[in-house]
Every structure is written in structure tokens, then in C-alpha cells.
Point group: C2
Chain length 220, copies 2
Amino acid sequence: MPLTSYPGVVTRQSYHHGDLRRALLTAAADAIADSGVTALSMRDLARRAGVSHAAPAHHFADKAGLLTALATDGFERLTKALATSRLASNSLLELGVTYLRFALANRATFEVMFRTDLYHADDPELLAARRQAADALYAGMTDLPDAPLAGPSTTGPARPAKEGTAELVSDDVREAGLAAWSMVHGFATLWLSGAFPDSAQEDPVQAARQILGRVRQLGG
Amino acid sequence: MPLTSYPGVVTRQSYHHGDLRRALLTAAADAIADSGVTALSMRDLARRAGVSHAAPAHHFADKAGLLTALATDGFERLTKALATSRLASNSLLELGVTYLRFALANRATFEVMFRTDLYHADDPELLAARRQAADALYAGMTDLPDAPLAGPSTTGPARPAKEGTAELVSDDVREAGLAAWSMVHGFATLWLSGAFPDSAQEDPVQAARQILGRVRQLGG
DNA sequence: CAGGATAACTAGTCAGTGGCAAGATTCGGG
DNA sequence: CCCGAATCTTGCCACTGACTAGTTATCCTG
């Protein structure tokens, strides 16, 4: 019986796993969520998936490669969430709330996304995904009610798009966006790390809404 | 010749190192700064210090123990820096700048400080140091020019000090502090991780000053 | 000024990990 | 149908963190 079982894992019947790549990614997110990235082990992920310890190497070049894929997937999902939020509310404050919600709901992935020493930071797919997330973030500013350059969202690929992401927005709006991004990102990070004295009691989304409202041009 | 040399390390003459604990901590900070925490190796630190691979165990229980000490030292130095800043400028905005300057100047230590999965988060010394840093942060708010409860800094040990740190300040000032802390922490984190599109060009302190000025009750 | 307790360090060992190589099994396009 | 390619397995190696036992220096007490 070469196919050893693992608690909580359905013993695989066929020689091929079927969707090992996805299984490893979700297993990694789970493992990180309750044990931290430091304790993450490739071999443990393989055991959870019910495959041999060398199987993951065929889907990810190395450990950093797996985390690169995890981070890339995270940026892509964040982009989608931000785009959805922008369509729904047209508010930069709500965009920040969406950002926080994503961080809270995807704790493990979020932590990996912003720890560049964990993955291959020069991976083209990752860079593209991160770029898109930043674009989705800055794109929300052009639609701000009080944004000077507010206009229809031109997110088509025909856009020139030089190196700096958002050259269409004014410096003022850009600065407000930087402020909001920094604030909500810091809040999420500090909250997740338990740095706030009484983080267990309050509602994070509520608190984030309050402090985001203190950013000029976001207040309402 | 049992005492093997190491590039950049003065070969030790006596059997005892003298100040191995400090040497390991500084070596750790250096190693993390240019290779990341993930690549940090106890044995490598021992080699850098010119001692055997088991020597560090006498000063730190385990790897997490060393990082606990590093984080504790970081919180203590941050506390000192914040206190100094408060005496100098009496401005919450400048307090934030000091926070950022500390993060930039102590990149490796700063990263460790807010990654609780890396060290023993329940260590009493660490908790005390972190608490003091939070106190130093919130203490600055009581001295704010426009703070409702501004008064002489009562940092004596005679203070009751329940679990929540700063019960003396009003909710409004407390919220402004939370906003500023989140913002400057997020800015530092994003900057250090290279998340900003053009982080290499601009001056981080200058940018931080601008966005901190957008927090209501902090602006000029 | 002993001399025993103690702190600091060394050497050896072990399980676990990441990564590599070579072989086995299955799938899929000609 | 069959051969190439993708997937997975077994085996191996260097390295790491942690543990144990033994060695050397220091300190402190009588």
C-alpha cells in the first residue's frame, strides 16, 4: 500500500493526482494560516496532498516558486475584489474596506504577498499581477466624486501605460490614494500581527472606516 | 587549529568569546538585512561569530529565542527613539517620521518585530518592551497641541495602567493616533517591500510627511 | 589562595527539510 | 496503437535546528 493516508485527506485512487497544483496551493494557505510561513514544509504539503515528497517539484521549481504562485494568485484575487468594489460603491473609502476585508479573509496569502524575500520577486507573472492590483487601486481614485480628473474608467489594453501606474490622476488624488493605501495596509498588518492592545474586542472593519474617514478628501 | 576563520571576522584568541550574545544579535540583523529572515541560519551566525554551532544555544533557547531577543531590543530602541522625538518636537507628525526613520534604519529588526510567528510572542520581556513602545506612541498624543486632554507627561510608574494602554486620552485623539500609526506603519512596510511603483526615486520621509499631513488633527 | 560550582564553549548525533537524479506509471496526440 | 511527454516515486545528499555529553575557563566562597 504505497499510498499512505493522511488525516483529513481522501486517499487518492489513481496514480496521478489530478489537480495537485491547486491542492498544494490551498494546503499551503491552510498550513500558513495556522502555523505561519516559517513552519511551512514542502514535504508536509506533499503528505497532506497524499503524494510523495518529490511530486511538488514538478509543479513548482522550489519552495519560493510555490509561494510566488500563491502571491500571484493573491494579487489576482485582490484585483478582482477591488474592481468589484469600485463598481459597487464608487468610493475610495469602501475600496479601502475591501482591501482590509481581503486581508482578513486571506490572512496567509496576504502575509506572503508583501514579503518579497519569501518568493521570486522578479517573476514576470507575479509582477504583472501586482501591477494590476496597484492599477485597480489607483483606478478607483479617478472615479472619486471629488477627483479633479474624474472620468469614465478607461481600463482597456489600448492604454499606453508607461512605468508609473496612474499618470492620469493628479498629484493630489494620487497622494490621497497613497495615504489611504498606507493606512489601510498598516492597519491590516498591525491587526493581523496583534500589535493593537485590544484587537480582539473591537470590530476591525468599523475601526478602519473611522480612521479612513480622517484622511482628507476621503471624509464624506 | 580548531578556531576556523571566517571572512570579515577577527579570529578569537581566548576560549570564551566575551560577548557572544551581542555578536549573534548584530550578526543576525546583518544577515537578515541582506538575505531575509527565511535564509537565516543559526549555524551560519555561529560561523560568523567564530564559535561552534552549538554555542548559541547557551544564550538563546532556540532560533525563535534569538529572534525574540532581537525583536525585544528593537522595541526598546524604538521606545527610546520615540521618547526622544517627543521631547524634541512635541508633534505627532514628527513622531510618525521618527517611526518611519527607525524602520528604514533598522530594516531587518523592524521586519522581525511585527512578524509574531517568527518569535515567542508570549515572552514576558518582549511583551513588556512592546507595551512600552505602544505607550511611547500614545503618550505623544497627550502632548498634542490640539489634544483635549493635553497635560504634563505622567510617565511615572505610579500610574495605575490597566490593560488598555492610554486611557487618559480621549477617543478622538486616540483615533487620530491609531490613524497615524496605521498610516506610517503601512507606508514603512510597503516601502520596505518595494510595493510602491516608483519607490526608488522619491524620498520616503518627504512622502510620509505629506500623507501624514492629510490626517485630520495632524495637518498644519 | 585553593578548589568546587558554574558558565561558556566544543564535538557528536539525530530527525527533518529542500533540492537533485534516476526510474516507474499514466496520459495524450500522431 | 504507440511513442513522447507529463506526472509521480524512490533514493540520495548537504544542510539545518535541536539534543546530549564532554571540555575549558571563570567566578565565588571558604
